[in-house]
Amino acid sequence: MPTFRTGPRTRLLGAAAALTALLAVTGCSSSGGSQAQDDPNEKITLTVNLFSDFGYADLYKQYEQQHPNITVKENRADMGAHHQNLQAHLLAGSGTADVEAIEIGQVAGFQAQAAKFVNFLENGVDAAQWVPSKTAPASSADGKVLFGLGTDMGGMALCYRSDLFKAAGLPTDRDQVSALLTDWKAYAATGKKFLADSPNKDVRWFDSGGNLFSAVIAQAPTGFYDAAGKPVVNENPAVRQAFDLVAGAIKDGESAGIQAFTPAWDTGFQKSQFATVACPAWMSYQFKANPPTDGGTWDMARIPGGGGNWGGSYLSVPRSGKHTKAATELAKWLTAPEQEAKLFTEKGYFPSDQALWSQPDIADHTDPLFNNAPTGKIFSQSAKDLKPQPLGAHGAEIGTALGNALTSIEQGKTDADGAWKKALADVGNIVG
């Protein structure tokens, strides 16, 4: 058949074309450099690499109107892949976008390479805009380089389904719920009561053990690393306590066992598979995108156990980018107080900018999505109560490993002790 005969030739041509394209690309990047920075009116495209929706679409439009020569292009990868790509591109010295987001759990992994980023302290940024707990992880060890501008942060709350609470005979008023669920022990105990009294036996108390564990561990003064940067997963009793608490709740059948941030999780929101979710501010878009299909409503109470931070991000500008100067200006503008305030009131991302917390339009903000709960007040309080936790290079991966271990309990594959042992082996593989 004639089609088969042309096969190898087309493949060869394809390979040759790929080769020339590659040479062209590498040729471009080596000659592109930073010459373009001197002419402020030259038409340029700034690329922004993110790992989820930061709610920036409208802001880009506004920025492009103010700067007619600039076009902003956003790319998104999922969180793990995004940070791996950034690491790889930093090492290679090329391939980074002009602006790159970094999540707080991952930021410590970039600290040693602070010199590869633009130092914002030398570019007219006042670090006092943020709380020290936000700027410290994105600074070099000696504090002379600030390589990340704080975007949002994860002040925490407890989201709960007031209709399901009512059906199970629990209080529905958010102050009463806050008073009932003061700490995680009370939370787990109430969960047991909920399961016993809820008329709908398909509803569980929370979405997934891994997610709950993230919330609990975020409140500990020390997590996976000590202040000296040494991993202390096995030595720190707080980790084991949090692990056992969640494992116990799973054993009592409180977990729906649905992995967070998966399509199944979205379905879980719609089909009312769980009554509570530990929710940092940035998670609210999940509730917005997946309203319960049985007409139930979400409400928001204080998080058991007090303050804590879970998540939140930074914008950084790698020096290897093509338009570092313009990118620095864009990053500064996106994280400026006016824009951060707008992102909170319109998209629900709580600002890391500390002066905003006491501003009336932030502090008094209520969200109709959560039955008009005073989200501004709840997240501000949580952020003010926050005690910064030492972060380490592999914090995010260790969290994932422990989350996986809890998942394996949910899947009925092992018990708390077995899962803990496996998790420690995983941690050994990560740091060792």
């Binding site: 060869l12 390979a15 793990g80 996986n404 899947q411 009925g412």
Partner: protein, 322 residues
């Protein structure tokens, strides 16, 4: 192709026979190398060099979180570590398990399918092209759809099983259940591809053999067993080798099948972490370049060994025949 290029030459050659003869000889000896050069240049740049460089990296202690470790020579230390790395051995077990679970049914199905496609029937070409369709679709798209089908709470497969009174299966959770699900994806994608290869070989089988068998009263099934399969032996061996290599490199399906936050862990307890996933996990997830490279090279060596074993077995079989 080559004929049309040199078609205009002989007329000129007559004028200066000696020089032309020499040029012709040079052309004949050199041209073939020039024609194949692009492949070997590309292969040297994008195949051989990365492989050798990976081999070099696998003997260093290079990892991102240890500054200055780039050139630290450790010899075969990384390979020694592999031998008592439970994660590596687990990945090896998973790779072989999933490989057997997917390759065996896939090739058997392909053989049967090719046999059916070999019959005279209406719209034959359409069906023959149709079996290739699954292979044309992207791994990512296919896997994402299969993940939905194999969903625990609202998946179509569990729903169907539920009609027969089977409890919901958490496909991701178990070792065997996750292997089965991943094998289903692989089998779905590659059965048609192998079927076409078998079909091509079947068409080379002399029709007279079937005719004679039919006259002797052999059933279709008997013809398939006693004529088709023996005549196809070299083709089957080829498919086995290619599928085995593919199975040992299995990456996309288990990666996307996992619902964990870090997709390279291959399940909550690494129950479906394959060698390729583990290599990626160590190299790009943990940034242990030296160790990750060692895993890659171990994979390569493993493939060489298994393919060699296949060939030796094939030679033995041939020997028995003769």
């Amino acid at each position: 192709m080559a004929a049309s290029v040199s078609a205009g030459r002989p007329a000129r050659a007559a004028r200066a026979p000696v020089a032309a003869h020499r040029r012709h000889r040079l052309d004949r000896t050199l041209s073939p190398y020039l024609y194949i050069a692009p492949f070997f240049l590309v292969f040297a740049g994008f195949g051989l060099f990365p492989m050798l460089y990976t081999g070099y990296v696998s003997m260093t202690n290079w990892r991102v979180d240890v500054p200055g470790s780039q050139g630290q020579w450790v010899g075969l230390e990384n390979y020694r570590k592999l031998l008592d790395d439970p994660f590596f051995l687990n990945a090896l077990k998973n790779t072989v398990g999933i490989g057997v679970l997917s390759t065996v049914p896939q090739l058997l199905l392909a053989l049967v399918l090719a046999h059916l496609l070999n019959y005279r029937m209406r719209g034959r070409t359409l069906f023959r092209l149709g079996v290739l369709l699954p292979n044309v679709t992207s791994v990512a798209a296919v896997t994402l759809i299969f993940v939905q089908l194999f969903g625990r709470d609202y998946g179509l497969i569990n729903w169907t099983l539920g009609l027969f009174g089977v409890e919901h299966i958490d496909w991701q959770a178990g070792t065997l259940s996750s292997w089965t699900a991943i094998s289903a994806i692989v089998t779905w994608r590659w059965t048609g591809y192998n079927a076409l290869i078998f079909l091509a070989a079947m068409q080379a089988v002399p029709f007279e053999l079937y005719e004679a068998a039919a006259i002797d009263g052999a059933s279709r099934w008997r013809q398939f067993r006693s004529i088709t399969v023996p005549m196809l032996r070299p083709t089957i061996l080829f498919s086995v080798i290619v599928s085995t290599i593919g199975a040992l490199q299995l990456f996309g399906e288990p990666m996307l099948f996992g619902q964990q936050q870090d997709p390279t862990t291959g399940g909550s307890q690494h129950q479906f972490q394959t060698l390729a996933l583990y290599s990626y996990n160590q190299f790009w997830g943990r940034f242990k370049y030296g160790y990750g490279a060692a895993v890659s090279w171990a994979m390569f060596l493993l493939i060489v060994v298994i393919v060699a074993a296949n060939l030796i077995a094939a030679r033995r079989m041939k020997g028995l025949d003769a």
